[in-house]
């Protein structure tokens, strides 16, 4: 197949009318890859943070994602338990083995049965953290890692995501930049980054939208309002 590789590249360069070591072309590519410059970003993705949070909630709600806003991490177990009751779900939860989730005061809700690990065919409810929320489209960004099995984003019927308001950003570009900064560049990029915009859906039968094709039928966000309210108000234009 190495021969094929060579022939494909020869053919590409024939079409481009230049050789492989064209300095100008190499420089153009280097410049673009190192600049990682943003193209046009819609106005709506560049709002001040409090409005980003508002837009994010509007967008995910329109996608039929449910949101429960809580004041602090301490309230998360209650929010999770309430959700299970509301939807008449069993108390078993498959949870990402993530430090922040482990640190939550689960002892407050002793009836919840938490197990940790990747997704299984039979799981009904999963609980995971998210890396970011993207206000522009109501998208959750989640990534793989030792504490983040990505199968939990897809196998269960119900996916509960814990997100902090401070993790919400305006655009995809903002979220990608944040992730690059956190992992330390492209070389340390996680195996998988999932951008999830609403529950699983299909319109493959007569174009009729139906939720829960293969991934979760329901997506629920527990939003920790960790940005002080007055600070948020002060930023209002």
């Amino acid at each position: 197949m190495s021969n094929s590789r060579e022939r494909i590249f020869n053919s590409l360069r024939r079409g481009l009318g230049r050789g492989p070591e064209d300095a100008k072309a190499q420089a153009a590519v280097n410049a673009r890859l190192s600049a990682m410059a943003r193209n046009l970003v819609p106005q709506r993705a560049q709002l001040p943070h409090p409005q980003q949070v508002k837009l994010f909630i509007e967008k995910i709600t329109a996608l039929t994602v449910t949101v429960q806003r809580v004041a602090s991490t301490a309230a998360v177990p209650d929010a999770v338990a309430d959700y299970l009751v509301l939807h008449n779900l069993p108390t078993e939860i498959r949870m990402a083995p993530h430090d922040e989730l482990r640190a939550l005061p689960w002892q407050k809700r002793p009836l919840l049965q938490l197990s940790e690990g990747p997704g299984r065919a039979t799981d009904l409810v999963s609980l995971t953290p998210a890396f970011a929320g993207i206000a522009e489209t109501g998208t959750l960004m989640l990534h793989s890692g030792p504490q983040n099995p990505t199968t939990l984003h897809f196998t269960p019927d119900n996916h509960i995501v814990v997100l902090r308001a401070s993790q919400i950003s305006g655009s995809m570009e903002d979220a990608f930049a944040k992730l690059r900064a956190q992992v330390g560049g492209a070389d340390h990029w996680p195996r998988t980054v999932n951008m999830v915009t609403g529950p699983s859906r299909t319109a493959d039968i007569e174009g009729v939208p139906v939720l829960g094709a293969h991934g979760p039928r329901r997506l629920h966000v527990v939003l920790i309002e960790d940005v002080p309210q007055d600070a948020a108000q002060a930023q209002q234009p």
């Binding site: 094929s4 494909i8 590249f9 053919s11 590409l12 360069r13 079409g15 481009l16 009318g17 072309a25 153009a28 590519v29 673009r32 890859l33 990682m36 410059a37 943003r38 193209n39 046009l40 819609p42 106005q43 709506r44 967008k59 083995p97 690990g117 990747p118 997704g119 065919a121 109501g138 998208t139 793989s144 990505t150 199968t151 897809f154 655009s171 995809m172 990608f176 492209a186 990029w189 996680p190 195996r191 998988t192 980054v193 999932n194 951008m195 999830v196 915009t197 529950p199 699983s200 299909t202 319109a203 493959d204 039968i205 007569e206 174009g207 009729v208 139906v210 094709a213 293969h214 991934g215």
Partner: protein, 480 residues
Amino acid sequence: MSAHITSPAFKDNAKAALADPNLRKAMAIIAGPMAGRRVESASELPEFEALRDEAVKIKNHTLAHMDIYLERFEAAATARGAHVHWCRTPREARETVLALCRSRNARTVTKGKSMVTEEIGLNAFLEQHSIQPVETDLGEYIIQLAHEPPSHIIGPALHKTREQVAELFEEHHPDYAPNGIKPGPRSTEPQTLVSEARAVLRERYFQADVGITGANFLVAENGATMIVTNEGNGDLTQSLPKMHIVVTSIEKVIPTLEDVSTILRVLARSATGQEMSVYTTVSCGPKRPDDADGPEEMHIVLLDNGRSEMLGGELQELMRCIRCGACMNNCPVYQSVGGHAYGWVYPGPIGAALDPHLIGLEAAQHLPNASTFCGKCQEVCPMRIPLPKIMRHWREQAHDKRITPPMQRWGIEAWAWLAQRPALYRLATRIGMTALRAVAGSKGRLRSLPLADGWTAQRDFPAPQPGGSFMAQWKSGRRR
């Protein structure tokens, strides 16, 4: 042996399609709600037109540096632990995939939606070698059960009615029990049918030895492949089995995630009218040592199949295509005949422009001809591909290479010869028009016309106005 070709029979295919009442229903959905959602979502984003321009610029830049971006992609993907396989032909790609499957002693492979695997005829090939491919995208799954090719690049089974889907499930699912009650009355509710497919496919994801997906983008920046789906089947396909094989083509390469972000803004809106598809996934190599889940091996099979030859020529702009399907949703011809009539993997305007290159002009000659040149495809194409211009290029090739049927060619050449001799033209047309007027009489129109049955079978033909041609009347002094 790529996907089966019936393009030479376009006229017969079209005739059959026009007589199929189920297809009429399905096409009304594509032309109505599907095309409508695009307009709505585009109008909700003030920057939509400007984003199209940006997306075009990104792709043009990438194509002008395609070799270098592909090298960078390969280097980055390899550094993440993925293996990149370069394949010039569908055959090489099929054999590469087969060898990979065999290295895992695979019996079952799950598949996310991939038009390139359709292009290389992968499913039939794997079956011949005793490996069972299981399509997991609902639409692909339905047509796999029906042993049919896709009729639309993003809605492969849109030509099937709910009743037909229910029949297929009844035939193929031994435990099919609508609403969980057995034996139950057959439900044709899409919700029930979706749940049935979900339940059946769920087991398959966990049993599969290999998962095959396509890719919407290859990101040069970090060596990632990306898929954009709504169902989540692609993610289950690629994260549960031990081996993930990405089968895609070289023109999917794109420089950075910033560039991807821009194109994503026009992709889903153009395809389904969503702002974002539900799942956009960036995949970078296999499971890391500490990862909680993921495939142990990741292979990226990159198909050329003549694409590299499109650079620098009339067809280069086709490589901007992001496979959104807007051109077909909005094409009056596609809306009449559906995707199967085109007779190969890529239907509609994009197929009419691309297929002649991929399967040969002789086989595909009808496709660029079966267009009214209304220009709607170019108007809606997020990447502003001049599809009518490329179809015209193929018509010129067919004329020059004498692939056009002789009668048609002679007819046009005779007409053109006459059109260059105004006096003779006027004499000939005067005779013709006089005859038409005589036959029509005072009725003003004709119900049949020799040699123009294609028109008069279902339409009257308006007769020329009385009094002779405009030029004749003008010359005789009439002014008003």
